[in-house]
């Protein structure tokens, strides 16, 4: 479609303004991260990252985050695949009602469940464990994952299942050999989403691990902020460290992720 050159110029101005608006905080934090600490000489201080890493204990908190993300992503995706497979390809009494129960999970705010979760898990001595941080997140992700994969699996032609049946495949074999391999984009999207939600989760990690030994990366940063409010250079370096893994993941999986999202959503 042709547009006039005046309009085109206007378009670029508008886009440029908003792109700048989006970028300014990012640029600010990157610039601050390499700026001199109080009393240091001006210049580029890449050593801030090293110091922030050590002082903030980010090795440990990133490790915790990684373990929790691995647990949540693996469990949530596995459970969602199984449930989504049943809802997407099988007919059985009660399927509609059960599915609506899962849909309800998309609307339950974390704020509402985190109080009883904390006190009930404390009663059974489970707070300050990986399970306490991971299980509530698995539950939320399973609600979404089931919904997401049901749509994906429903779109598969029934002839595929019938062919598998003729070959004598059972439900599990069909899922692993045919249905799952044909759903890689949707699965990738789900993995990225769940990873991102888990990596960035704050409230659950804050409440469920009051002892501090299982601090995740976002909590480590919040804690760091409490201690080093004045030292903005170190704090910003820590913030960059925490944000980086998610950003890197997107750089590598973005195309698959977006494609899966658009395809999955129109089913």
């Amino acid at each position: 479609m042709r547009v006039s050159s005046a309009e085109r110029t206007m378009n670029y101005v508008v886009l440029g303004v908003f792109a700048l608006f989006a970028l300014i905080p990012v640029i600010t934090i990157l610039a601050t991260a390499v700026s001199p600490q109080i009393g240091q000489a001006p210049g580029l201080h890449l050593a801030n990252f090293l110091e922030a890493w050590k002082v903030g204990g980010f090795g440990r908190s990133l490790g915790n985050s990684l373990i929790i993300a691995a647990i949540v992503v693996t469990s949530a995706v596995t459970l969602s695949v199984l449930a989504g497979y049943a809802f997407g390809t099988m007919r059985f009494p009660g399927s509609t009602v059960l599915f609506y129960v899962f849909l309800l999970g998309l609307m339950i705010p974390t704020e509402a469940t985190v109080i009883p979760l904390f006190f009930d898990l404390r009663t059974v001595g489970l707070t300050d464990t990986y399970a306490a941080i991971a299980l509530p997140q698995i539950a939320q992700s399973v609600a979404f994952g089931t919904f997401w994969l049901r749509a994906q699996f429903r779109s598969m032609p029934e002839s595929m299942l019938e062919a598998a049946a003729i070959d004598g495949a059972g439900p599990m074999r069909t899922l692993l050999r045919i249905v799952a391999p044909a759903s890689v984009p949707a699965l990738t999207t789900l993995v990225v989403l769940v990873f991102m939600w888990t990596w960035n989760e704050f409230l659950i990690a804050l409440v469920m691990a009051p002892g501090g030994s299982l601090r995740t990366a976002p909590l480590g940063l919040a804690n760091f902020q409490g201690q080093y409010t004045a030292e903005t250079a170190l704090l910003s370096a820590g913030a960059v460290i925490v944000a980086l893994p998610m950003v890197i993941m997107f750089l590598f999986l973005q195309r698959h992720f977006i494609r899966g999202m658009l395809e999955g959503a129109v089913k």
Partner: protein, 401 residues
Amino acid sequence: MASEQAGGARPGSTGGTPLGSTGGTPLGSTGGARSGSTGGARSGSTRGAPPATGELPPATGPVPDGPLVRRGGISARWRHQRPAQDTRRRRRPAGSSAVTRRRPSAVARHRPSAVVRSHATPYLFILPAFVVYAAFSLYPLVRAAQFSLFEWPGFGPSTFVGLQNYVDLASDAAFLAAIGNALVLIVFYAVLPLVIGLVLAAIFRRGQVRGMGFFRSVIFLPQVIALVVVAVAWRNIYAPGGPLNEALRAVGLDGLARGWLGDPGAALPAVGFIGTWLEMGLVMLLLLAGMSRIPDDLFEAARLDGAGPVREFFAITLPSVRGEIVVALVLTIIAALKTFDLVYLTTSGGPGNATTVPSYEVYFRAFQLREVGSASAVAIVLTLLVFAINVGVTRIGERAS
């Protein structure tokens, strides 16, 4: 949603890889090739490409919304799956005539699927997911409702007080402030991003924009960044000696300079502005996905009739994305209600109650004031609000179409 968390959640990208390049075909997504910095991501683009690459997004169908949100805050997206639900209804055994048509084999009709013989199988597949979901999401919600009927400091004995916690909320200054603040935040989290998103998406849809992938990615970038990091960045910007005040002083507006997050009048808009920054990319992408489904012919026809960009926007673009607008509003309004991380990390609800929100009240009451019953009552009210907004906005959207 959820999140996001709904709310929000927050996917996106950095570095300028063309963001929704699948849906972008009609939008001149080739411009994204300029993003040289992300060679690794781009090189895989053709190799692993599923068949649909490069196709136009289908002209119909529900909205690509939910995934862009934070877990737990995702919401009305399923309502837009109505077409899919209809199909399912047809596939259920109850709708026997349709089922017969689909599955001629009389034997197959009584089985859950071609490869499943036992009637127990579907339930066995669902069971593990259901157990975890029920135990760690449904059951806690019920428990929260139960907690809200008691007075309990978090340890020791509790006292049953019936609905007293809810009655008290009606005259609770902090709670009322939280609700009022949430309403103000809706302007920043939902209304402003909607306006910005509409303008940006319309620009992308209408003109061939070079570097579109770059712009899309950059504007969407805030969604990927953990809110803790966002809070650190903006605290820095808003600081008394921070870049914002320096800029104001540089242009002679010294009178406006202040500690933005500590100023009773400025703190709430300052937090809200972060929300605008955060949500505009999400809204833009949702609307863009919707707009890319509008057939080019419609625009061509409008142009032949002599419609300018503004006329075209109101006559064609806007009516075509009603569904996406509804979804975007639901997601962003819920994000405004549950903006816990940001408030906790920037202002802790202060100064006074100037920036508290319902989700912050839940945390603060339960874990700082040790009023678990009252906190649970706020949590239940918040849940009901989220449900009501879901239903309400979706209804309005349906009526409008």
